[in-house]
């Protein structure tokens, strides 16, 4: 038994070292990448055109404990520049939600820096739950950003279920009237947004930790080791991988 335990310990140690070496290697490969954070918006747009497929709704799921608002803001602004209209940032405990002001300031700052003179063409808005219609005055590109936590996942589904039960109790609805899309109409967290096509998960935990269970039915899940010092090249590579995925939809 002791032999077995020791062997397992050695295997795990080996795997941990291998992962650490891999991240070291990736870190060395792009020493100045962080400095090249400022990308030209026109370059991003042309990269976007070359993608075979662009996601409509991207989920940036952070499963790490240490949040870097600068880097998260970069990811949001790159997505916007690419033409992605819906962006959901998620952490299961709601830390991003609680610090939304700091995050928002970073996003506004980077919108100016990265998008330059085109900045006014973009309306990047923070949308909370029940979305109220906003006036888009002359903005060409509208981007909705949502900050989500686990209460927007299972809890939101439960509230939808409760609402349905209340409707049935009050005889506003009948049992048997709820089709799969019916429940969707009762969800609040992503009201008005389409399902998530792509999740970029940042961190070494291999789980979505409660991210929007209903909306991830057909979502492609791509994992990245971390969002710390994330560079545009890595982001672009992930989107290119997404572009190459073929879905058969059950057929």
């Amino acid at each position: 038994m002791i032999l077995h335990q020791v062997l397992l310990y050695l295997v795990h140690t080996f795997l941990a070292i291998r992962t650490w070496l891999a991240s070291l290697y990736h870190g060395l490969k792009k020493p100045l990448a962080f400095k090249h954070r400022k990308r030209n918006v026109h370059r991003i747009k042309s990269d976007s055109k070359e993608l075979s497929k662009l996601p409509i709704h991207v989920g940036l799921v952070v499963v790490e404990d240490d949040f870097r608002y600068g880097e998260l803001a970069s990811l949001v602004v790159w997505c916007a520049a690419m033409g992605i209209s819906y962006i959901s940032l998620y952490d299961s405990q709601g830390i991003l939600k609680r610090n939304n002001t700091s995050l928002w300031q970073e996003i506004m700052k980077q919108q100016q820096e990265l998008l330059g003179e085109d900045s006014n063409k973009y309306s990047i808005e923070l949308v909370k739950g029940n979305r109220t219609a906003t006036q888009l005055t002359g903005q060409k590109y509208s981007v909705e950003v949502r900050l989500l936590s686990s209460e927007d996942g299972r809890t939101d589904l439960l509230h939808a279920a409760q609402r349905w039960c209340q409707d049935v109790e009050a005889k506003r609805k009948k049992v048997g009237d709820l089709e799969p899309t019916g429940l969707e109409g009762l969800l609040q967290a992503t009201k008005g947004a389409p399902d998530v096509d792509l999740v970029l998960k940042f961190g070494t935990v291999d789980s979505l930790l409660g991210f929007l269970p209903w909306q991830i039915r057909l979502t492609e899940i791509l994992s990245l080791p971390t969002h710390h010092s994330i560079d545009y090249q890595t982001f672009l590579l992930a989107l290119q991988s997404f572009g190459n995925i073929e879905q058969r939809f059950g057929k």
Binding site: M1, H4, Q5, L7, L8, V11, H12, L15, A16, V63, S92, Q93, S150, G153, R154, T155, L157, L158, A160, A161, Q162, W164, C165, Q166, V168, E169, K173, V175, G176, L178, E179, P180, G182, L183, V205, D206, S207, L208, L209, G210, F211, P213, W214, I216, R217, L218, T219, E220, I221, L222, I245, Q247, F249, G250, K251
Partner: protein
Amino acid sequence: MSWIREETPPDENTWSERFRKFCANVLKTGPIPKHVAFIMDGNRRFARKKGMDRAEGHLMGFEKLAETLKWCRDLGINEVTVYAFSIENFKRSKEEVESLMEIARQKFARLLQEKEAIMKHGVCIRVLGNLTLLPLDIQRSIAEAMVMSKDNDKAFLNVCFAYTSRHEISNAVEEMAEGVEKGLIRPSDVSESLLDHCLYTSHSPDPHLLVRTSGEVRLSDFLLWQSSFSVLSFMEVLWPEFSFWHLCAAVLHYQRNHQAIMRARDQHNQEREQALRQADYDGVVAELQQVDPDKTDQSKWASVPTLVQKQETERDRRVQEFLQHLDRKRANFLDNLVQKNEIKVCS
């Protein structure tokens, strides 16, 4: 071609079998995921690769399932859930759907023939999905297998057939709505725990590990609710080529994520409990406010904790009765199918 593979007696073990057992014992000194879910993807691509026809690819996929069940037993994984057929798969060509139904027909019939092995190993078989979408004779075989093995508790095999997660969740919500309509429960009784018990997977814990083969990195409408805190393991290997070593790799992967997942799950459960207690408290206070807004009756206000406790007890009782009603309803559905089958056989 059987579902349940027997152990080879120790003296007949090859070196590779012994090595597998040794590796299993090494892994078992660490945390083992008690419930593993598999999306067995890649049968058709395997068939194309080997120049077989699709039906053969699916048959190879079934063989792999039977082998994998045995490997899971060796590793101490006592519950396995597999995604065998999605409601979306009905969109395939008529020819392919019929051939898949024919394979299912044969396999479920075969399952009934292996009754002895199933009872010996204590395997409880459940088929989860909208069974009414299937041909009646397949429904009947499935019902027989489920009824026959329902009291087994050493190992659990859940086969998702004519299943999608969204349908499962909607169905669970409709069951709760029916409970409300019948006056068995109230809308305020709806909770995570209640929804868990209304899903087709009501008798299973959430899967600890979810494995998808063939390189696809999505859940495809499988266990969306239940896999919120599962470790996800996406592998390039095609399902018919899945091996014991791939399973070991998935378990190692689970072990590496185990602590982080447990922490997140525990936190989520704690928050859930707190939210429920808070909602109960707020509910009692709101009621009292309406009756006695000026807080004139001090004794009533002092008894808030007792009232909250009473409310919780009442709710638990209502929920228990409702769940028993639901279990009976589902058991009756299966029993009716089995009885029709028996009448058919006798006549």
